[in-house]
Amino acid sequence: MNAESSVRGEVHELSYAESIRDAMDIALGSDERVVLMGEDIGVYGGAFQVTGSLVHKYGEDRVMDTPISELGGAGVAVGAALTGLRPIFEFQFSDFSTLAMEQIVNQAAKLRYMLGGAVSVPLVMRLPSGSGTGAAAQHSQSLEAWYGHVPGLKVAQPSTPRDAKGLLLAALEDPDPVLIFEHKLLYKMKGPVPSGYYTTPIGKAAVRREGTDLTIAANSIMALKAEEAAKTLADEGIDAEVIDLRTVRPIDRETVLASVRKTGRLLCVYEGVKTLGVGAEVSAMVAESDAFDFLDGPIVRLGGAECPIPYNPKLEEAVVPQVPAIIRAARDLANGAI
């Protein structure tokens, strides 16, 4: 499943942030056209210290601090991508991409099509996303569903250090705009990361755990929570298959359908607001497919509550799916209690 391109290097323990930095370092070192753009990505090292000290290695012309101008900055990246550079644009928080949607959606996503194929826009955007940091409603959103709705874009959501690097390098190989939603709570998480160059294919989900009783399809950090839930469920004798979607656009239809055909039950877990979130698409995709006939029960969704993210930590925890809730929902589904 994990169809990574051939990996030659050794495997090291790196954090998710380090692994993304490693990918950018490789890209900057091997391709003159690659530039990083974003707010405070230079000496400050990025709001989440992802670019770190890259500016000292590559200089301010390659690791460019932009003014606080998200629309303009994104547009500059679009124009640069259109004319020979390979920008990697960092939003400080994915929430601020609300300022730049014009350029992302109307320009980057559509230019190739509107111009009849005459151009490509090889642009990578990185968007720190999600809740759990106590930063409240304007700094905690999960907006991947919006971008997943836009033809012309690709949207990835790595949940491991290994995928974070592989997907970023794959995005850089991609001739079209790719948005990578990085989960803020994962930046410090460590995991094995091959050194050197490799790519993780955009559009391929990963089966994190095989199982026969139900399928849990989750994105980003929820894939990790689902794995954790699956361990407890296993102790109870419920054998869950856990799919980490990894990309929202395109969604890996085949992997999800194959799993549901096998298990007959589907639970979608995602942090974004439940209504019209990623799980809505996963559910609908299954309900319209041949896998529908294999369903032994309703398709259950656990998504973010229908409210902005609150500041109070208990409330903040309560409004996104947590491991116990996943366990409960999976148990009820597997036991036919739903």
Partner: protein, 339 residues
């Protein structure tokens, strides 16, 4: 930036009654103690999330609010504690908010970055740089259309001046001659980036000309200078003559937020600005003009410290919001269908 030359009575001393001047100093002290208290609580793990301290910028917040009443509005920023207290908020409800409590200004939903006190005319801090700029213009539009006579002071940072929202907001305020005062707190950095690297002009107020409004750059650590400029702009706004842009050059002596590693500025620079602290300067002015004694200042400082300490204590023991209420207040009228 020299002190007011001796012999000249500063504007503030001429313009305000002694009580008002003492109250201004009290607020500056309260802001300072509030933020030091909040910082300490944060470091002790009592407050989570992040916060942006305005230590060093108190003259700007308090000076700009001198001639505002409760009906006048302000819009604030992520660095908004000073604005909130200057506009009349209470320490207790602010701390309760920082502690995420139900008794806080935002019932624990907003925290430092969304601190607000609507009853006193503070429409709220804002987590989005530049987010308050058009909102302030809208507030001024309401005042003009509804004939309330209120003005709106819009605080924003030097970094925010490069957002498109700045441009659009100032242009609309100007063409519609709205009663709004744009107060740029130029603390020399937008997070880590100095204005010279982010902004094509030397002074933010140089941009006023692009909106055909008066623009002035001044020593933002000089309470009197800030108050004078804003008072003039408020009068102009109330007279129906439209908006102004005032740039208070100041400095935050703390880092950008709690996660700042201070890689972008020198210790010398920080030390230099620490010496330019607006609070002793204000105190000195009031003492030298006989508004109060040094002893009064010390007592005032001690009282402020007490108020902070008891605010923190009250906040710690205040009730938390109930988890079952997490989706309350999304809509004004609650409905099942919205959950």
């Amino acid at each position: 930036m020299p002190d007011t030359p001796p012999g000249n009575t500063p504007y503030a001393v001429r313009a305000y009654r002694p009580e008002a001047l003492r109250e201004a100093l009290r607020k500056m002290l309260l802001i300072r103690k509030f933020e030091e208290g909040a910082e300490e609580c944060y470091m002790r793990g009592l407050i989570h999330g992040t916060m942006h301290l305005s230590i060093g910028q108190e003259a700007s917040a308090v000076g700009a609010c001198m001639s505002l009443g409760d009906d006048d509005k302000i819009t604030s920023t992520h660095r908004g504690h000073g604005h909130c207290l200057a506009k009349g908020a209470g320490v207790d409800k602010m701390f309760a908010e920082f502690f995420g409590k139900e008794t806080g200004y935002c019932r624990g939903r907003g925290g430092s970055m969304h601190i607000a006190d609507v009853a006193k005319g503070n429409l709220g801090a804002n987590g989005i740089v530049g987010g308050g700029l058009p909102i302030a213009v809208g507030s001024a539009l309401s005042a003009k259309r509804l004939g309330t006579g209120a003005v709106t002071v819009c605080f924003f940072g030097d970094g925010a001046n490069n957002e498109g929202a700045f441009h659009e907001a100032l242009n609309m305020a100007s063409i519609w001659k709205l009663p709004v005062i744009f107060v740029c707190e130029n603390n020399r950095y937008g997070m880590s980036v100095p204005t010279e690297r982010s902004t094509a002009v030397k002074n933010i107020a140089d941009r006023a000309i692009a909106y055909a409004m008066p623009g002035v750059t001044l020593d933002g650590n000089d309470f009197s200078a800030v108050a004078e400029a804003v008072d003039g702009a408020v009068a102009r706004a109330r007279a129906g003559d439209g908006p102004s842009l005032i740039e208070n050059v100041t400095y935050r002596t703390r880092g950008h937020s709690r996660s700042d590693r201070n890689r972008y500025r020198s210790r010398q620079e920080i030390a230099l600005w620490t010496e330019r602290d607006p609070i002793p300067r204000m105190a000195k002015m009031l003492v030298s003009h006989g508004v109060m004694t040094e002893d009064d200042v010390e007592k005032m400082e001690a009282a402020a410290a007490d108020e902070i300490a008891s605010g923190i204590e009250a906040a710690r023991s205040a009730p938390e919001p109930g988890v079952e209420d997490a989706t309350r207040d999304v809509y004004t009228v609650h409905s099942e269908a919205m959950e």
